[in-house]
């Protein structure tokens, strides 16, 4: 770890000795009969996704998680978002988290875009009073125009993502967890997203990225973690880590 002796309150995310393993079923059973049938037969095995990982992320830092598919990046991101829990170790988060792991999760497609803004924002702990002052900003950012009054099921996938992204960046979170989502919409909207992310970074938000896009990572992140087979093998400046990573990838 490069940074020690950090003031406790400067740390946005603290991960200590976290181990996460998944039970892999050969054949996922939902029903009791199958569960009973599988007893005795060793049909499941343990798969260690993260092995004794420790890392501190400071307030205002933008950190990229890089590594090959299946190395545990997304699992770490889900752990940070408390969607899943580790078997061992602790995770401390200081501040409000906005997750862009799966955009538009929890949209109720029968309801209009506007209704879904309120619902989605409520998942970030925002009430009507908190949403009312920012709703115009969200709608404007999404460029949905009059479609905001139509049910979300009538949206194209691009419109869906635009709405979800607009909500996620406007809920005033302190920590943003982002999984490979800057591929939202067309080139114009992507640029807008990137600008917005830069603006949030300038405001001192903490960000954790999972991305395979080297140029995006370089333009954003001041620090990168290389995760390999569930362990952090390198932690340093984005340029250094990316260089070492691309060298190994060949």
């Amino acid at each position: 770890m490069a940074k020690k002796n950090n003031n406790e309150k400067d740390i946005a995310i603290s991960v200590q000795n976290v181990t996460k393993e998944f039970t892999v079923y050969e054949d996922k059973s939902y029903f009791l009969k199958e569960k009973l049938g599988h007893l005795g037969r060793n049909k499941k095995r343990k798969h260690v996704v993260l092995n004794d990982v420790s890392v501190d992320i400071l307030r205002g830092q933008s950190v990229a998680l890089i590594g090959v598919n299946g190395c545990g990046k997304s699992t770490l991101l889900k752990l940070l978002n408390k969607i899943i829990y580790p078997q061992k170790g602790t995770i401390k988060i200081n501040g409000k988290v906005s997750s862009m792991i799966e955009l538009g999760a929890g949209f109720n497609t029968d309801f209009t875009g506007r209704e879904n803004i309120y619902f989605n924002a409520s998942m970030y702990g925002l009430g009507k009073k908190d949403v009312d002052p920012i709703i115009d900003k969200i709608i404007e950012f999404s460029e949905l125009g009059d479609f905001i009054e139509s049910p979300v099921r009538t949206y194209s996938s691009g419109m869906y993502m635009r709405l979800a992204f607009s909500i996620a960046v406007n809920v005033q979170a302190d920590i943003l967890l982002i999984d490979e989502i800057l591929a939202v919409g067309d080139a114009h909207f992507q640029k807008k997203c990137l600008d917005k992310m830069k603006e949030l970074k300038a405001q001192g938000k903490t960000m954790v990225f999972v991305s395979h896009n080297a140029s995006q990572i370089k333009s954003f992140c001041d620090r990168a973690l290389w995760i390999k087979k569930g362990e952090i093998v390198m932690d340093g400046t984005t340029d250094d880590v990316l260089d070492a990573y691309t060298k190994e990838q060949g």
Partner: protein, 260 residues
């Protein structure tokens, strides 16, 4: 996470809770012309059918049988839909459980709240029916919120366990159908407690729904005070059930996103 912190967190997510309740109440009748009015129309039709059937077709030994039935069946139906909706509330929301963080207790809580609201509307019809039938209301009816509270607490304790268990083993939701049917016949709804043979009575009364339903019957049908001792015991059981339910739920919910 300690209980106090959990309560604080749920309070922080109260907007989500209210939105889920609103969506459930609005979404239930979305696309229908009468909309929320169906909440009132359903029990109204039920009352009409019972009045006709039991006035002219079946004769039962119970005076004002259609009112007796109504007073008992309304709370049972509410209980039934709380358990039904509650058991599947986590497993049916796989998409948000896998993708978004929120205190998972919000899901069973929203089922309880929206069903309680629906139930209160159906009680309006019950009370109107009681007035029309000539039985009339007494001041004892003011105890209604107390009995509703006990019933809701009991249901919530059960739902916490059932919803969490159903994520792991889907048999729970199918098992609940026959269980609820047996439970209905093991409770004084279609018949009254006087028809239960004396020697079974002590076992029969172990069913917490017996004291709850008798409570409703006492204050609305017999116009007497309810049996506070048995209601008190049931309330204590319900609270214990909520505590155990919360412990179970809290343990099982950690792997919801992986199992669902």
């Amino acid at each position: 996470m300690s209980f106090i912190n959990k309560v604080k967190e749920i309070y922080h997510y109260r907007h989500m809770l209210f939105t889920l309740v609103k969506q459930d109440l609005q979404g239930r009748y979305k696309g229908s012309v009468f909309g929320f009015l169906w909440t009132l129309l359903n029990p109204l039709f039920m009352l009409l059918i019972y009045s006709v059937v039991f006035q002219f077709v079946f004769k039962s030994g119970i005076e004002h049988y259609s009112i007796y039935l109504f007073v008992s069946l309304m709370p049972w139906n509410a209980f039934n839909s709380m358990i039904g909706g509650g058991t599947t509330c986590a497993s049916n929301n796989a998409s948000i459980l896998k993708k978004v963080y929120f205190p998972r207790e919000v899901l069973p809580l929203s089922v309880i709240i929206s069903n309680t609201i629906q139930y209160c509307f159906s009680l309006v019809i019950t009370i109107i029916a009681i007035l029309i039938s000539g039985i009339g209301l007494s001041f004892n009816a003011l105890l209604l919120p107390l009995i509703i509270l006990i019933q809701v607490t009991f249901a919530f304790g059960l739902i916490l366990m059932l919803s969490a268990a159903n994520v792991y083993v889907r048999d729970v939701q199918y098992m609940m159908n026959p269980i609820m049917m047996i439970w209905m016949y093991a409770s004084p709804i279609l018949y009254n407690i006087a028809m239960v043979p004396e020697k079974f009575l002590s076992i029969y009364k172990l069913n917490p729904m017996v004291s709850i339903l008798q409570g409703y019957q006492a204050i609305l049908y017999h116009k007497t005070l309810p049996d506070f001792t048995s209601l008190g015991i049931t309330f204590a059981i319900s609270i214990a059930l909520c505590v155990i339910g919360w412990l179970v739920f809290n343990k099982l919910q950690k792997r919801f996103a992986e199992e669902v």
